[in-house]
């Protein structure tokens, strides 16, 4: 056990992968000497060489498209997209090519490329540096999407993503990069595609992932002061979604609130609300409620506090659920 920031945990996870899998390598913009704009790959080029930690030309479609080709040849690329808002030049390669190579080849070919994307807001950045595009990728069959909310998951999930035989996108909550947590480098937390109940409760289920998990925990603690026992689930995986864990929780609590930074319309929260309504119709005491960003492009930094779900927005949603 040791304590480290999430950034360091991912760095250590990448180091472990590069050490044990000689076919693995990192590629992306500025990830070499600089160590990435968030310094996630710091020191790795020095340790493993430019061949294993590769600065690419400034071309996102090029990064994903060539990674796919290298994976076809048996290599294990781990790509970094510099910022969430800059994944779109690669959207075509990810959704029409990477996600589909397996089914298009009738299962003969696979391209288990890993894509790391720092995502989400709350760091007071300028436009295209704070987005949450996970639903756009989750909608695409053939991809797997995970997002750690803490250092331990961050350390393990990147390694598990590389071991997975399918393409995996790891959305890294950038505002959590500098938060510290315990990392157990000996024992993995198990299946990366399973949700974790991170706080037990009996009156309502609050589902969150990535950047909002600590916010949800804080909201649950605040609700406890008002006498409400809120169970908090860290979803961890966005594709697939572990509906069984959510279902079991909602059957116990009777209420569901889902929170994410992305706009609610057409988002992951709607998907969870719909599925859980179907599965838990007779246990639900209230309609499933979503908390999320508004239907607008990610706003300027000076107003993002009004955009991002915070403790109060979660409490307001919980109150609405309790009002039924």
């Amino acid at each position: 056990m040791s304590t480290m920031t999430m950034a360091k945990a991912i760095n250590e996870g990448l180091r472990a992968t590069l050490s044990k899998d000689p076919k693995s390598f990192l590629m992306g913009e500025d990830i070499g000497a600089l160590g990435g704009v968030y310094r996630i790959t710091e020191g790795l080029q020095k340790e493993f060489g430019a061949h294993r930690v590769m600065d690419t030309p400034l071309a996102e479609s090029g990064i994903i498209g060539t990674a796919l080709g290298m994976a076809l040849r048996g290599h294990r690329p781990i790509c970094e997209i510099q910022f969430d808002g800059f994944v779109f030049p690669a959207f075509n390669q990810i959704t029409t090519q990477l996600a589909k190579i397996r089914t298009r080849s009738d299962g003969q070919l696979s391209a288990p490329v890993v894509i790391r994307i720092p995502y989400g807001g709350g760091i007071g950045s300028i436009e295209h540096h704070s987005e949450s595009p996970e639903a756009l990728f989750a909608h695409t069959a053939g991809l797997r999407i995970i997002t750690p909310s803490n250092a331990n998951d961050a350390y393990w999930m990147i390694q598990q993503a590389v071991e997975c035989k399918d393409p995996v996108i790891v959305f890294e909550p950038k505002r959590r990069y500098w938060s510290k947590g315990e990392v157990d480098t000996e024992n993995s937390p198990g299946d990366p595609f399973k949700a974790h109940v991170v706080r037990e409760g009996t009156d309502a289920t609050l589902v969150a992932y990535g950047p909002l998990v600590p916010v949800a925990l804080a909201a649950a603690n605040a609700a406890a002061e008002d006498g409400h026992s809120v169970e908090v689930i860290d979803l961890r995986s966005i594709s697939p979604i572990d509906f069984d864990t959510v279902e079991a929780s909602v059957n116990k609590t009777g209420r569901l609130v889902v929170a994410h930074e992305a706009p609610t319309f057409g988002g992951i929260g709607g998907e969870i609300a719909s599925r859980i309504s179907e599965r838990c119709f007779y246990s639900l005491e209230a309609p499933a409620i979503r908390v999320g960003g508004f239907h607008m492009p990610y706003p300027i930094a000076r107003v993002e506090e009004h955009y991002l779900p915070d403790i109060d927005r979660m409490l307001e949603a919980l109150e609405r659920a309790f009002a039924y």
């Binding site: 061949h51 069959a141 697939p240």
Partner: protein, 426 residues
């Protein structure tokens, strides 16, 4: 400006120099007609409008009249060819043309959803495909039926995609011929990545068999950003890849001039990679320049860009009507540049083939067509369960849940059928 250019990559240990085709030739008629006028002398290609590139400016070893030309760099690649190989080129070109006719007929009869004809481009495809070694890998678009033949595919397999029973139809690992790709230019990046993978394999294990990759794309696709990015990556990493652009002058209904004001080969210099223009209807020249390029790439000297000037004689696909957008005169002109006719003239003039040979090729083609038809009509249906099974490599609960629902749903019809069968009158 020379028709062929070579950038000094600084790594070249090869003695090969790409040079312009000597101007001397025995051309008759007006080779400059058509929609690809030659570049007027004295003007800079960079500022020309409507330039283009007729075969007369490209590397040409065999002209439309069956006459041969010498080229210091490329002729050696064909001088030592066994006549059997040259006859093989003819046979393959005739075979793919016959196959194409049969596939078009199958589409007209409702057996295929669509067909993508290749007639006119046989030399570009058979020439380049034949230059590849077994370990080389080809990334086609959706029209590379001739290349498929040279990679040893049963041509009937190509039709499965167009009949709608699979997105694939063959095993790319057996043939080193990748799947057809409908998203234009996307595969050029995969080709470069694959080539970068070959370089990595060589670093990890120097006994790896050296190999190169050929990325096929069209003049329309050349406008896509992925082609640009693929060339940047290829040049940056000296990837062993040959970009093979079949400039057939048309992207569906849009003429070449809308894609580029200058010959595409000019772009190669901007990436610092050698560029060669070749008469894409001259199978010998295409074979020679592709061999040169593959040697260059395989020997560690990095990528090469080839622009093969050719023409799609028929429709873009069976859903297209070329009379709406192009002139019959242009089509007629290109028919005079037919790749098969000139090789036949040559083979006969050199006494390399006689009537019996051409008769045999025709009969074999008919047999192949019959085989393709038989196989296509006998193709079974497809089962959506197979699609459920190939979305992911590892189990995915959502897919499992939806498959279970589907099985139940299907089974409910079986129950109804049984009930009806038991209870109702016949």
């Amino acid at each position: 400006m020379g028709a062929a250019q070579q950038a000094d990559t600084g790594t070249s240990g090869s003695g090969a120099q790409v040079s312009p085709r000597p101007q001397a030739g025995n051309q008759v008629g007006n080779p400059q007609a058509g929609n690809q006028p030659p570049i007027p002398a004295g003007e800079s290609a960079g500022v020309l409008r409507n330039t283009g590139v007729g075969p007369e400016e490209a590397v040409q070893l065999l002209d439309e009249h069956g006459g041969t030309h010498h080229d210091a760099t490329f002729s050696p690649y064909i001088d030592k060819l066994d006549p059997d190989v040259v006859r093989g080129f003819y046979r393959d070109m005739a075979t793919v043309r016959r196959f194409d006719t049969e596939a078009t007929a199958l589409q007209r009869q409702g057996e295929l959803a669509m067909w993508v004809p290749v007639i006119g481009q046989e030399a570009a495809q058979i020439g380049s495909g034949s230059a590849m070694k077994k370990a080389d890998y080809a990334f086609p678009t959706y029209r590379e039926h001739g290349v498929a033949l040279t990679r040893g595919l049963d041509l009937a397999d190509l039709l499965k995609l167009f009949r709608g029973i699979t997105n694939g139809g063959w095993d790319p690992r057996e043939t080193n011929f990748h799947l057809y790709t409908l998203v234009l230019a996307a595969q050029t990046l995969h080709a470069v990545g694959y080539a970068m993978g070959i370089s990595r394999d060589l670093v990890a294990d120097p006994t790896t068999e050296p190999a190169a990759v050929v990325a096929y794309f069209g003049d329309g696709a050349s406008s896509e950003g992925d082609v640009h990015e693929s060339m940047v990556f290829a040049a940056s990493y000296d990837a062993p890849v040959v970009f093979f652009c079949q400039n057939n002058n048309w992207a569906i209904s849009v003429p070449f001039e809308v894609q580029s004001k200058v010959p595409l080969v000019n772009r190669a210099a901007g990436y610092g990679i050698p560029g060669i223009r070749v008469d894409g209807n001259d199978v010998l020249a295409v074979y020679a320049v592709t061999q040169w390029a593959l040697d260059h790439a395989r020997n560690g000297h990095g990528p090469v860009f080839i622009e093969a000037s050719t023409y799609r004689v028929g429709a873009h696909t069976t859903a297209d009507d070329p009379t709406k957008y192009r002139m019959g005169a242009e089509e007629e002109l290109w028919k005079t540049r037919d790749p098969l006719a000139r090789l036949e003239t040559y083979l006969r003039a050199e006494n390399l083939a006689d009537d019996a040979f051409f008769e045999q090729v025709k009969n074999d083609g008919d047999e192949l067509a019959a085989h393709v038809r038989r196989v296509t009509l006998a193709l079974g249906g497809a089962d959506i369960r197979h699609k459920f099974a190939t979305v992911y490599a590892e189990t995915h609960p959502l897919v499992a849940e939806e498959l279970a629902w589907f099985e139940n749903y299907e089974a409910s019809f079986a129950d109804v059928d049984t009930e009806n069968g038991q209870g109702g009158a016949a």
